[in-house]
């Protein structure tokens, strides 16, 4: 079945399309719901296969790549599917298609179609079209193939392709966009429910049990309410290379401030790397700062640490003992040692990096830091992964431990 390749292309692109959904699509096509045009096919396929607007953009990209140039040949895909599902219903085909079929048997047609398709993916950048107008293939119309099949004609199919090419759903991708609401959703998992202290509630099961044991003499049993026990400390890199990321970072911050479920939340700022002081405001004023060693005394190891920064700096800023970029705040201890201390002090910590994941490997300091902290991109998906790393089941990964005396690294 030729479209099966489309199914695998979608799965390869990361969409969790299942066979059940694929069969839903086939049923719809059998019933002719796509009205034999590419726009209808696009709508039907999307409704059946994609279950989140966040995946629409990925779907559009795969669809556009797979059916590129089909605009002009709008009647092709549904009919092709029908031939492939069943070689008999020729009366369904247009006059032109039937004439073409007399010259080419179905196997031959199929083989060529597959070949052309494979070629198409390879030559994607070249822009030559495999089915459509002005192409060199036997499929489509207005092409240069002497014995080719003229398929379809003018039609209103352009809209769907335009939607795809415009990528109008790109804004809904969760691996790119970040709005306060999305972030709040991602942060929902930041929960560890405990019954340690706090207000009490009536324990009905236990009350019934006790009352029965007392032969009907009512005995009320109370217990502390379940409460979220997550305490989160956020350290944010500001200024310099972080300036372009002001918006996503501030959205994360406001989402965290609005997150009422947290037992405690505190945020501090730093520039480039954490040295001996962190700051209460983004202006990094010494008056409003706290010594990093005090920070670790104030916030015990039960706090969870989330650092936001691009981890990109001059190598000496990270490893030299006099690396602090601000000369007035010259330090005796290197930033890397401070980071290592933080990582060891807190039970769990993650690093969220707003840079593109591809860029991480290009920065040496980023590689060093990501070996110290589990690093995730500052996207909705990344935050969700990071939150899982903070509260989820512990994945045992060995991290390189710096020797305590390696200050001059």
């Amino acid at each position: 079945m030729v479209f099966l390749d489309f199914f695998f292309a979608l799965r390869e692109a990361g969409l969790k399309v299942t066979l059940q959904e694929w069969r839903m699509l086939l049923t719809c096509l059998e019933k002719g719901l796509h009205d034999s045009n590419i726009k209808g096919f696009y709508h039907v396929a999307r409704a059946c296969l994609v279950k989140s607007e966040a995946d629409f953009d990925t779907f559009d990209l795969v669809f556009a790549r797979y059916f590129e140039g089909i605009e002009g040949a709008i009647e092709l895909p549904p009919e092709l599917l029908e031939w492939l599902a069943d070689p008999h219903p020729m009366e369904e085909l247009s006059e032109e298609l039937r004439r073409a079929l007399e010259h080419l048997d179905i196997d031959e047609l199929m083989r060529r179609f597959r070949e052309t398709m494979a070629e198409q993916t390879e030559r994607h950048d070249g822009g030559s079209r495999w089915v459509g107008t002005g192409g060199r293939s036997p499929f489509g119309h207005g092409g240069h193939h002497p014995t080719g099949i003229r398929v379809g004609g003018p039609g209103g199919g352009g809209m769907a392709m335009k939607v795809m090419e415009d990528r109008s759903f790109a804004d809904y991708r969760t691996d790119v966009t970040l709005d306060v609401r999305n972030v709040k959703l991602a942060l929902r998992r930041l929960r560890q429910l405990t019954r340690s202290d706090g207000p009490i509630e009536l324990d009905i099961d236990e009350t019934i049990d006790k009352t029965c044991r007392e032969a009907g003499e009512i005995e009320l049993v109370f217990r502390p309410k379940r409460k979220n026990d997550v305490r989160l400390l956020l350290l944010m890199d500001v200024g310099g290379t972080m300036d372009p990321y002001f918006e996503p970072v501030s959205r994360l911050l406001s989402a965290l401030h609005e997150e009422r479920g947290l037992r405690d939340f505190k945020a501090y700022y730093f520039h480039n790397c954490v040295y001996e002081r962190v700051f209460e405001t983004a202006q990094l004023m010494r008056k409003q700062s706290i010594a990093t060693s005090d920070l670790m005394r104030t916030y015990g190891e039960r706090w969870k640490l989330m650092i936001v920064g691009d981890a990109a700096m001059h190598p000496s800023e990270l490893s030299s003992s006099r690396g602090n970029i601000n000369p007035r705040l010259e330090t005796e201890t290197s930033g890397l040692v401070w980071l290592d201390r933080l990582e060891h002090h807190f039970d769990r910590s993650v690093w969220l990096n707003p840079d593109d994941v591809q860029q991480w490997a290009m920065s040496g300091t980023c590689r060093t830091i990501s070996s110290l902290f589990p690093m995730y991109p500052l996207t909705v998906d990344g935050i969700e992964e990071g939150v899982k790393a903070l509260v989820g089941a512990r994945a045992e990964t060995a991290r390189p431990v710096l020797a305590p005396g390696s200050a001059g690294l």
Partner: protein, 301 residues
């Protein structure tokens, strides 16, 4: 006409009545296609979208368009899956037993069917709206999975099995407050109502306010899309708020020229104190609002 390779029968003509939108409801082509998919597959249609884009209205108009009766199940945070099937009114029965009222011996008279139970037992095909499914507990969608899939359930107290006479058309809306489980999503046809672009919005406004003055409407839409473009806003105004706003403007007889300079009746659009203050101070500072749609930069149209 063909039969499919997997052997299932294919009707020569569509065996269902297609939905084509109604005069009062502007449905995009993709929405119509999604509704028809759900109808053909007899699977629930899951509709997501920003609040105020007409998700709930859709069910009413699908029912109207198909000429079928509509039943609704509005989900609350306390809703349980069983509530949709049936409720066994034990308290009533106990009460009746105490005072000797009613037919206490017949459990069946104390079983009250919920929305799902009602549409299953109805003689004709029904449209069922399950509104705001994401309001309920995380497990809720999984709990109704089997009932929606097989369209049958058993009343435990009596052992009676309720089987759908006619598979209802189920429309489920979600505001995206909670992720829905994959197993649930797999069984649904999905549609996301994208925010209408300016041209679509004109059509929608025309349905509700057919006689708005043209210059006023242009100003209104311009201001509205400009407001939606403002990143600082915590809650962006929606279609239904726009309709309300136009009602207010028309009733007060606001001059289009006044609209150019300020945003009257902002309370109809912005429901958040900080948002109102932000826009007010922006206007007070003499901030520029656009004069033409072309000035709206990153607007998705």
């Amino acid at each position: 006409m063909s039969t499919s390779a997997n052997g299932s029968s294919t009707a020569a003509s569509p065996a269902f009545k297609r939905f084509a939108g109604t005069t009062d409801y502007i449905a995009s082509a993709s929405l119509v296609d999604a509704v028809n998919c759900a109808l053909a597959l007899e699977r629930p249609l899951l509709v997501k979208g920003e609040p105020g884009t007409g998700k709930t209205l859709l069910a009413r108009h699908v029912a109207e368009g198909l000429g079928l009766p509509l039943d609704s199940w509005h989900i609350k945070s306390t809703s349980k899956a069983e509530d949709g099937l049936y409720v066994y009114d034990t308290v009533q029965r106990l009460n009746d037993a105490r005072f000797g009222d009613g037919n206490v011996r017949d459990i069946r008279s104390y079983i009250r069917l919920g929305p799902l139970g009602r549409v299953f037992t109805a003689k004709s095909r029904q449209v069922l709206l399950i509104d705001e499914i994401d309001k309920a507990d995380l497990e809720f969608p999984n709990d109704i999975l089997r009932e929606i899939d097989e369209m049958r359930f058993t009343v435990l107290e009596t052992g009676d099995e309720v089987v759908a006479v006619q598979r209802p058309m189920v429309i489920i809306t979600s505001n995206n407050e909670k992720e829905l489980p994959d197993a649930f999503l797999r069984r649904c046809v999905f549609h996301f109502i994208d925010f209408p672009d300016v041209a679509q919005m004109r059509e929608i406004v025309a349905v509700h306010h057919p006689n708005v003055e043209k210059t006023l409407l242009e100003q209104v839409l311009l201001k509205f899309y400009w407001l939606r473009d403002q990143k600082e806003l915590r809650k962006r105004p929606s279609t239904s708020e726009l309709i309300d706003w136009i009602t207010a403007l028309v009733r007060a007889g606001v001059d289009p020229a006044r609209l150019e300079a300020e945003v009257p009746f902002m309370g109809a659009l912005l429901k958040n104190e900080q948002d109102t203050r932000a826009i007010e101070s922006f206007v007070a500072r003499g901030g520029k609002t656009p004069k033409a749609f072309s000035e709206l930069g990153g607007l998705r149209r």
